[in-house]
Amino acid sequence: MSIRFVNVVKSFGPKTVLQGVSFEVPAGEVFFIIGASGVGKSVLIKHLVGLMAPDDGEVWLDGEEISRWTERQMFPVRMKCAMVFQHSTLFDSMTCVENVALPLRKHRGMSLEDSLAEARRRLEIVQMGAFGDAYPAALGDGMKKRVAIARALTLDPKYVLFDEPTTSLDPVSARRVDELIARLSRELGVTSVVVSHDLVSIFSIAHRIVMLYRGHVRMIGTPDDFRATTDGVVQQFIHGRAEGPMEL
């Protein structure tokens, strides 16, 4: 039971963003993908749920090669592999509770009434029960993020992909999200793949980290491996230095 990328190549027009990326994420890990902006981190995790297809290479999930599956074949994959988008991406035209209820209705075929009741319960868990009938436009970033996490977890997925979950959050909200991700792994055995630039998050909850650089895997290892490495590019990135060998 794992996630595996094998020589994944992805281009947009003349620009090849991923140039043969390979690594594996074992079950239950909190796995961080780091790298400079535009290096293809978000693009990579979208391959895992069929929101993008690789130009070349393979994407494996639970022992099945899924990179060429059709939209309909991807539905079961998306039930066990949820995603929290960078900007929360709640549906503007729906209330919070309707947002959380949608996967229950579509994936599980639950009735509207049952799905709304379950969605309210899920919102309570992320301390957003009082805002169930509010529209996303009325919420702050942190609150939207919590609703988005509730929506992602509503189907009890085995895998959760977080795309910059702490970006635009205040430090307290950010640490709460970190704690939630760690708890999912610790208590429920959920595998979390987290795209992040947040160094505090990375070094506090990551089991392992992969760094992408210029379309390739630059380094993969534990947080201690990253601290100990002598690779100038990695050191520059994890210490957030403006000067160094890193090319943007």
Binding site: E71, F75, F85, Q86, T89, K106
Partner: protein, 279 residues
């Protein structure tokens, strides 16, 4: 005898050949892009039809869209069609007065023209600007903010969830709006004929030239345009890329392509109708 100097040096020939290659590549790329776009449009249309009959029903979604497309367009369409009706009848009256000052058939001819062609074509062009732009902007914004990806994650096909309710609502409301705005255009024309040329309402209200062929042609046009606007605009919205600039382009593309599609369909349906229902 010295050879005549060549007008083109090897360098200029090479440059010219390179220029031709560049032009060919540009034309080829344009043709390929057009073919790809047509294939995508066909795919959107086929999937919309599939989900129209086989998709999951969202409670109230079609009614909401009918309100957005229909009720919110009534005033706009009534005003534009009323004005166009007045202008058309006034111009037709002036010509008639100059050639044969007999107004007995002005209403009948105008009604035939309205039913067979003008009400559906002009009304739908107006709808394309309002409804088409709205659909493309809404779906395009959802694409650039990843809401469409989020929908796909929830096992909701964007075509089924976003486009099908708009497609059904547009099919119904285009017919209703065209009938309504055509009536407004006819009444406005009748008032103009009475005020400008003293044509009595009883003379203007003349259905003697109207036949089943006109009615069927007009109805087919309403259905075709009602289907075209959400499909073309939805495709423009779903193929949005980039940020707010991309949404702007999608909106422009939706209006231009919907209008173009309506005009081309008008030619095709009218030509077919003249063969099937000859005058």
């Amino acid at each position: 005898m010295s050879a005549a100097p060549s007008s083109a040096s090897p360098a200029s020939l090479a440059a010219s050949s390179k220029g031709n290659d560049g032009l060919a590549a540009m034309l080829g790329a344009g043709v390929l892009a057009a073919v790809r776009s047509a294939a995508e449009l066909y795919s959107v249309f086929a999937r919309t039809l599939y989900y129209t009959f086989r998709g999951r029903r969202e409670r109230g979604a079609v009614v909401r869209q009918m309100y957005e497309i229909g009720n919110r367009s009534v005033v706009f369409l009534s005003v534009t069609m009323g004005c166009i009706g007045m202008i058309l009848v006034y111009q037709a009256g002036l010509q008639t007065k100059r050639v044969v000052p007999d107004f007995t058939l002005i209403g009948a001819t105008y009604l035939e023209l309205l039913v067979r062609d003008l009400a559906a074509s002009i009304g739908s062009l107006m709808l394309a600007t309002r409804v088409g732009a709205g659909i493309a902007a809404e779906i395009g914004s959802m694409v650039v903010t990843e809401q469409v990806d989020a929908l796909r994650m929830c096992a909701a096909d964007p075509i089924d969830y976003l486009l099908v309710p708009r497609f059904k609502a547009s099919m119904i409301m285009t017919v209703v709006l065209i009938v309504w705005s055509g009536t407004v255009a006819f009444v406005a024309g009748g008032i103009t004929a009475w005020v400008a040329f003293d044509v009595p309402a009883r003379t203007f209200w003349n259905i003697s030239l109207l036949d089943w062929g006109d009615l069927i042609t007009g109805f087919v046009k309403c259905l075709a345009y009602g289907a075209t606007i959400p499909i073309v605009s939805g495709h423009a919205g779903l193929s949005t890329f980039g940020g707010s600039e991309g949404v702007g382009w999608a909106t422009t593309r939706a209006v231009v392509n919907s209008s173009l599609a309506i005009i081309m369909l008008n030619l095709f349906i009218s030509a077919t109708a003249f063969v099937v229902f000859p005058k």
